[in-house]
């Protein structure tokens, strides 16, 4: 099953496919874990049952997302060996310990406390339960830190030397972890995870407000999500700009591909749209704004930024994918900002919970975070080509000694499995979030008012058995 492709291309596609799925789930679970910690803390602080209901509501979603994240992650930790053995041999001494620390400091922490966070409130009491929820949230953030250190090192390697058999030997761990692109990438990615969650939560909130604008839980989640959208999106845009400056400094060829610049010109236009053509070495049908590219990329109206032709052909990334994925990401970022500002306006006009158009827009923007995260990821990863370790280890020299048929067959197996399994998972998530966060059964039993201060843990098990 080689489909007429090389083993290298199939292995790249397999990695892209499996890591895309894997990336979606953690992007959601990083944000959700922190959201759950905040909700639980608010419940303990205010003893307002609405927060507890929201906790139990999102807890169910978190359990499904987290489970899918775990199983898709195990695949990644073995794929470095099956398809990318030469990469593992050469870069393993640097990348391996970073991933080892990720497992030791993050995965065990999450796994160890997840059971208590999900099932153990009654058994351990409020205090320890809060601690467990916080540990899960902290674990997801620690995990992001290590894996982004590893990924950033592949983009901007530092603190190594190369030994006689071609392995990267660590010389300075501090320089390896805090490599030049790491701080920028970490901030940008973690903010992206928070925004992804905010827009997903906002969509669910908007959906339930459309059905019943008085639903208290829907109001709270919608309001929290819109605060995130309004406050974090501008910060994220600044973080993204900073990461762009960093890439221009360390990976100028990637920037040239993203921008669709083939020629180096005295001033740099911004190509809004067009179709980069690597064979013709030009961006066709380009819609340009003069000088703006220099202003955005180098913060200088008259800046000249290197075009792809300034790099030897065998050291250039292919431009088409980064060009478009980058524009998708930025476009969605602008829409996120619009929604955030709109929500501030509605809040000021006191129509946040009644403006149906705002709620509809929020529903439409529900998947925006996921799409933007993937688009940004493709931009940076495809932009790193033709290297796995930028400038040092070529992708073609990273591959295992495997033939295309085997890689193709396993690729097909992964595609089929992932669509069945994760398709079902997404379906179950939709089913959970399409139910009112009120907990209808309890509503009938208890009526809409309840005493603060009682702990109705058992009564509000959202998503009870056999739904």
């Amino acid at each position: 099953m080689s489909f007429g492709q090389t083993a290298e291309l199939l292995a790249r596609f397999q990695f892209a496919f499996t890591i895309s799925f894997h990336f979606i789930f953690p992007a959601f679970s990083i944000g959700l874990a922190s959201y759950l910690a905040v909700l639980n803390a608010l419940w303990l602080w205010k003893r307002d049952a609405a927060y507890l209901k929201l906790f139990d509501y999102w807890k169910t979603v978190f359990a499904i997302v987290f489970g899918m994240g775990v199983v898709s992650g195990i695949v990644i930790s073995y794929q470095f060996g099956t398809n990318w053995a030469r990469f593992a041999d050469k870069a393993g001494p640097v990348i391996g310990p970073l991933m080892g620390y990720e497992v030791l400091t993050a995965f065990f922490l999450e796994a160890g406390f997840l059971g208590i966070a999900l099932f153990g409130r009654k058994r351990v009491g409020d205090g320890l339960h809060m601690f467990a929820v916080a540990m899960v949230a902290v674990g997801t953030l620690i995990s992001a830190t290590w894996i982004l250190a590893a990924n950033s090192w592949m983009q901007t390697p530092a603190g190594y030397e190369i030994n006689a058999v071609g392995q990267f030997v660590p010389t300075d761990w501090w320089a390896i972890i805090f490599n030049p692109s790491f701080p920028y990438r970490l901030v940008h990615t973690v903010l992206a995870a928070f925004l992804t969650t905010a827009f997903a939560v906002g969509a669910v909130g908007g959906f339930h407000l459309l059905r019943d604008a008085t639903n208290r839980q829907a109001r709270i989640m919608f309001s929290m999500a819109m605060w995130m959208a309004a406050l974090v999106t501008p910060v994220q845009i600044i973080a993204g700009d900073q990461q762009g400056l960093n890439s221009l400094e360390h990976q100028p060829a990637k920037i040239a591909a993203i921008e669709g610049h083939y020629d180096t010109t005295p001033t740099t236009p911004l190509i809004l749209l067009g179709i980069p053509d690597d064979t013709a070495q030009e961006t066709k049908y380009a819609l340009e704004i003069p000088n703006l590219g220099g202003l955005i990329l180098a913060h200088d109206w008259n800046a000249s930024v290197k075009g792809l032709k300034d790099f030897p052909p065998d050291q250039r990334p292919q431009a088409l994918v980064p060009f478009f994925t980058f524009r998708i990401m930025v476009g969605l970022g602008v829409l996120m900002l619009v929604l955030g500002v709109w929500s501030l306006w509605a809040r000021y006009r006191k129509t946040l919970y009644t403006s149906k158009w705002l709620h509809r827009a929020a529903i439409l923007m529900g998947p925006s975070g996921f799409v933007a995260v993937l688009a940004g990821w493709y931009t940076t990863e495809v932009g790193r080509q033709p290297y796995t370790v930028y400038g040092l280890l070529r992708t073609s020299d990273s591959l295992s000694n495997v033939d295309a048929a085997g890689v193709g067959a396993s690729l097909v197996a992964f595609i089929l499995t992932y669509f069945v399994v994760f398709g079902a998972g997404v379906f179950y998530i939709f089913r959970v979030v399409s139910k009112s966060p009120e907990g209808e059964k309890e509503e009938l039993r208890q009526g809409p008012t309840r005493t603060a201060g009682v702990t109705p843990v058992q009564q509000v098990q959202a998503g009870g058995p056999d739904v």
Binding site: A63, I64, G67, V70, V71, G73, I74, V75, S77, Y78, F80, G81, T82, A85, R86, A88, D89, G92, P93, V94, G96, P97, M99, G100, Y101, V103, L104, T105, F108, L109, A111, G112, F113, L114, G115, I116, L118, F119, G120, R123, N163, Q167, V169, P170, W173, S400, N401, V402, D403, G406, S410, A413, T417, V421, A424, G425, Y428, R431, P465, V467
Partner: protein
């Protein structure tokens, strides 16, 4: 002073053993779904492991990530050699892993996730056994890469190892049920455990008799001074565990059979360790050859020495929180 690579050989063996005994019983539970068909019983079985399975599987990630960190050459040669069984194991683990959440979310498709849980668990166990068998029988390496074919791993010996691990995990699973449940489910688990115990012992015997004839290294290891002491000791201890298992099951003890079954695994694992040393890929790569540079080994060692005890402490705490019998119908979901 000890070389870092040998310290790490011991340390990397630990997560593998931890994985085998911990995920062993919950993969076993999955396999036992074949014998326990009642819906409520299956709920109970699953709930007995729901709070801990994720932590158990994390040891597998540590084994993989750790191997890449400290023995990158072993990782880069063994995984391509075991390409097919590894991929099938991963697919099996995906199906069984999501079943924990999915089967409580649907009625119509519950049977699908039940089958996924059972088949996924059994396939993962079988493929782990095959992978082990393939490693024991040896892997062809030239230069710094795997040099064999796609199907080298598939031999009668590796299949025997695969079957052994499925049966062995089922034994662990049945003993876990005996520990965590009551009443009729527990009675049946005990009967299943007795059969599985017999099967496991016979299979351990078969694999042990076969192994020394696969490779002269094993033969000399097993029948030469001073390792002969260990190869003599291991069967005696195995017999003691077998007795503990039989006595515990027939006398209706709760914890003893599980501990004895774990003992069987620990001893078999020790036997493997004796056979492998000083190789990490038998006959092809020694521990020293495969080791990462000292800068990598030292960096991760500091973390492992500090963090693994902490991990064991809070993992132990999580087991403690969910101690005691699982009540029928009193699920966590």
């Amino acid at each position: 002073m000890f070389e870092l690579s040998f310290i790490w050989a011991g340390l990397i063996a630990f997560p593998v053993l931890a994985y085998v005994v911990l995920d062993g019983f919950d993969l076993g539970i999955g396999t036992l779904f074949v014998l326990f068909r009642d819906h409520a019983e299956r709920d109970q079985m699953m709930n007995s492991i729901a709070p801990v399975w994720d932590g158990n599987e994390t040891w597998l990630v540590l084994g993989g990530g750790g191997l890449m960190a400290v023995f990158p050459l072993a990782y880069a040669t063994v995984l391509p050699a075991l390409y097919v069984p590894i991929i099938l194991m991963l697919l099996g683990l995906i199906f069984r892993g999501v079943a924990f959440e999915f089967r409580f979310r649907t009625k119509r498709w519950r049977v699908v996730w039940d089958v996924g849980f059972a088949a996924g668990s059994a396939i993962a166990a079988f493929m782990q056994g095959i992978a082990l068998g393939a490693l024991v029988q040896g892997i062809k390496i030239s230069g710094r890469a795997y040099a064999g074919g796609w199907w080298d791993w598939l031999t009668p010996f590796s299949i025997l190892c695969g079957v052994s691990l499925v049966v062995g995990y089922a034994l662990l699973g049945a003993c876990w049920l005996n520990l965590k449940t009551e009443g009729e489910l527990q009675q049946r688990a005990r009967r299943v455990a007795l059969y599985a115990a017999g099967g496991t012992l016979v299979l351990i015997g078969a694999v042990s008799l076969w192994t020394p004839f696969l490779n002269p290294i094993y033969f000399t290891r097993w029948f030469q001074w001073p390792t002969l002491v260990f190869s003599g000791l291991v069967p005696i201890l195995l017999a003691a565990c077998a007795f503990g298992l039989w006595q515990g099951l027939t006398a209706g003890k709760h914890l003893q059979p599980f501990v004895s079954a774990l003992g069987l695994f620990v001893l078999s694992f020790a036997g493997l360790g004796i056979s492998f040393y000083p190789y990490i890929v038998p006959g092809a790569l020694t521990i020293r050859e495969a080791a990462a540079p000292d800068a990598s080994l030292g960096f991760l060692l500091v973390g492992a020495l500090v963090l693994v005890p902490i991990i064991l402490a809070y993992t132990g705490y999580a087991y403690w929180v969910f101690r005691g019998k699982v009540q029928p119908g009193g699920g966590y979901h």
